[in-house]
């Protein structure tokens, strides 16, 4: 099952993968790179951080609108 070697992905690569996942699209080559290099734990942590960043940026946007 885990035949592929998991090399460590850089934080930037994880962030990029999660960013594209929020949009819901991904280039095939990039995705294949993700599939072999990203570890589930990295993706989950980055996903949670990404969700927090999204919420904070929405809050900031809202703050600008109503102030």
């Amino acid at each position: 099952m885990a035949a592929e070697q998991k090399s460590n992905a850089s934080p930037l690569q994880v962030i990029k993968a999660v960013f594209w996942s929020f949009l819901g699209i991904r280039r095939r080559a990039e995705y294949e790179k993700d599939a072999v290099s990203l570890k589930p734990a990295q993706v989950i942590i980055a996903g949670i951080i990404g969700a927090i960043v999204l919420v904070l940026s929405l809050v900031t946007l809202v703050h600008f609108i109503i102030s």
Binding site: R26, Y31, L58, V59, I65
Partner: protein, 531 residues
């Protein structure tokens, strides 16, 4: 490989599970994923018809203005129980039934990871359903606070509400156990070479749905437990006079309730993503983006709950936040719809019944999605809150979305499950009657809502009469059309019709089609190797 499967199908001698009891005890004691899947599907179909009969009661009353058949409080029981039964009794168990049948076969596993727990998760459901239905016969009748069981209505009702609460607790426990089973099966029991990113999309959507279920079912349990203690043990969680806050119930409920919406639609996305490539004879366009979009929808589903509560009074900042976050969900959902259409683009398409339902799904579900986007706009929602527009919206996503996908999946996999082809003519009649009557029923509800007709009322003003009459005629037509579905399934299950080949759909390429039709009792005793 096929020879090996055939051998497995005939040689059950050394298989401990082959010594299963016969008759009713086979079903009570079964730990086999296919038997349990069948039980889930039969349970779901039964509840679908019970919920449907309640809907008949609703539409009969609304056929004309004035009170025809029911006391107003019984009408409220009908709407509430219709919602609860359809959501927790019909749609959710149907998808778990699909998961049980399909996930082990699609990932090349012999069975689910926790076979005994699987039996337990199913057999919790009939007692829960019995509690729910019994509530009609206790003093004060069934729960009548709407399927959302908002406090303070739910803290004031008779013992029927307690039965409803216990039923939801039990169904929630069943869902959590089912989900743990699904997650464990997917993560640990895949065939060699079946990496996560090679899994069929149905398996992916169920993996994400299972996580959602594990995350939010305890939240529902918490909310209804608080209602229960408010009712009987002197707490004041939702009682303003005792320092509580009824609006808090809505926050907690919808923190469960919005992900619940996606729990009911993500497996539908998965089914459609299997059916469309098979009948377009092309691989799914943008597989990776489908996986990413599903994850994205799941994450976003946790930050939008208060769009159900715009009229409860919230600061402008809150309204804007929930409006923006809700609208963002249109992006990954749009990606999915685009990918399905791109899959069909220049494909060699044929329109057998599963494909008809899948294409119908895309068309009608998208309409439900668009009305959702309209309702996401706070000032619009404040006008349309609790009107028939909302009823139209969520029936477009739940009936034309989830239910149509369930039909698509059933017709798609019925030849595999039963070993016999369904009756194509009957299937097509079922589709076209369902599609037409669905729209006759629910499209006029948009107009009713825009004109201001409130939901959950047994009587209405004269200006709403015509559209209500149309909707009622449509509803009866839709309900009766479902008898064709039962007829088709029963004919197939009893062995009527042509014998199904192992792979009746030439474009289908997932592992279950490498098995015989019907598949052996244990799917893959020797795991296949996926390249």
């Amino acid at each position: 490989m096929q020879a090996a499967h055939d051998h497995a199908a005939h040689a059950h001698g050394h298989d401990a599970h082959a010594h299963h009891p016969s008759g009713i005890m086979r079903w009570v004691q079964t730990t086999n994923h296919k038997d349990i899947g069948t039980l889930y599907l039969i349970f779901s179909l039964t509840m679908f018809f019970i919920g449907g009969i309640l809907a008949f009661g609703i539409r009969a009353e609304l056929f004309q203005p004035g009170l025809q058949f029911w006391r107003p409080d019984f009408f409220n029981e009908l709407t509430t129980m219709h919602g609860l039964i359809m959501v927790f009794g019909a749609i959710m168990p149907a998808f778990v039934g699909f998961a049980n049948w399909q996930i082990p076969m699609m990932i090349g596993a012999p069975d689910m990871a926790f076979a005994r727990m699987n039996n337990w998760s199913f057999w919790l459901l009939p007692p829960a359903a019995l509690l729910l239905i019994t509530s009609f016969f206790v003093p004060g009748g069934a729960p009548a606070a709407g399927w959302t069981i908002y406090a303070p209505l739910s803290t004031q009702m008779g013992p029927g509400m307690d039965l409803g609460i216990f039923a939801l607790h039990i169904m929630g426990a069943s869902s959590i156990m089912g989900s743990i089973n699904i997650v464990t099966t997917i993560l640990n029991m895949r065939a060699p070479g079946m990496t996560l990113m090679k899994m069929p999309l149905f398996v992916w959507t169920w993996l994400i749905t299972a996580y959602l279920l594990i995350a939010v079912m305890p939240v529902l349990a918490g909310a209804i437990t608080m209602v229960l203690t408010d009712r009987h043990f002197g707490t004041n969680f939702f009682n303003a006079a005792g320092g509580g806050d009824p609006v808090m119930f809505q926050h907690i409920f919808w923190f469960f309730g919005h992900p619940e919406v996606y729990i009911m639609i993500l497996p539908a996305f998965g089914i459609v993503s299997q059916v469309i490539p098979a009948f377009a004879r092309k691989p799914l366009f943008g597989y990776a983006s489908m996986v990413y979009a599903t994850s994205s929808i799941a994450i976003l589903s946790f930050i939008v709950w208060a769009h159900h509560m715009f009229t409860t009074g919230m600061p402008a900042a809150g309204q804007l936040f929930f409006m923006f976050s809700t609208m963002l969900i249109a992006v990954p959902t749009g990606v999915k719809v685009f990918n399905w259409i791109a899959t069909m683009w220049k494909g060699s398409m044929t329109f057998e019944t599963p494909m008809l339902f899948a294409v119908g799904f895309i068309l009608v579900f998208s309409m439900g999605g668009f009305t959702g986007l309209i309702l996401a706009i706070t000032p619009v929602d404040i006008q349309l809150q609790d009107t028939y527009y909302v009823v139209a919206h969520f029936h477009y996503v739940l009936v034309a979305g989830s239910l149509f996908a369930i039909f698509a999946g059933t017709y798609f996999w019925l030849p595999k499950w039963t070993g016999h082809m369904y009756d194509e003519t009957l299937g097509k009649w079922h589709f076209w009657l369902s599609l037409v009557f669905f729209n006759v029923t629910f499209f006029p509800m948009h107009f009713l809502g825009l004109a201001g007709m409130p939901r959950r009322i047994p009587d209405y003003a004269m200006q709403f009469a015509d559209f209500n009459m149309i909707a009622s005629i449509g509803a009866f037509g839709f309900g009766l059309s479902q008898l064709l579905f039962v007829l088709g399934v029963v004919k197939c299950a009893r062995g009527g019709g042509v014998k199904a080949p192992d792979k009746p759909w030439e474009g289908a390429d997932t592992l279950e089609w490498t098995l015989s039709s019907p598949p052996p009792y244990h799917s893959f005793e020797t795991p296949p190797v996926v390249k």
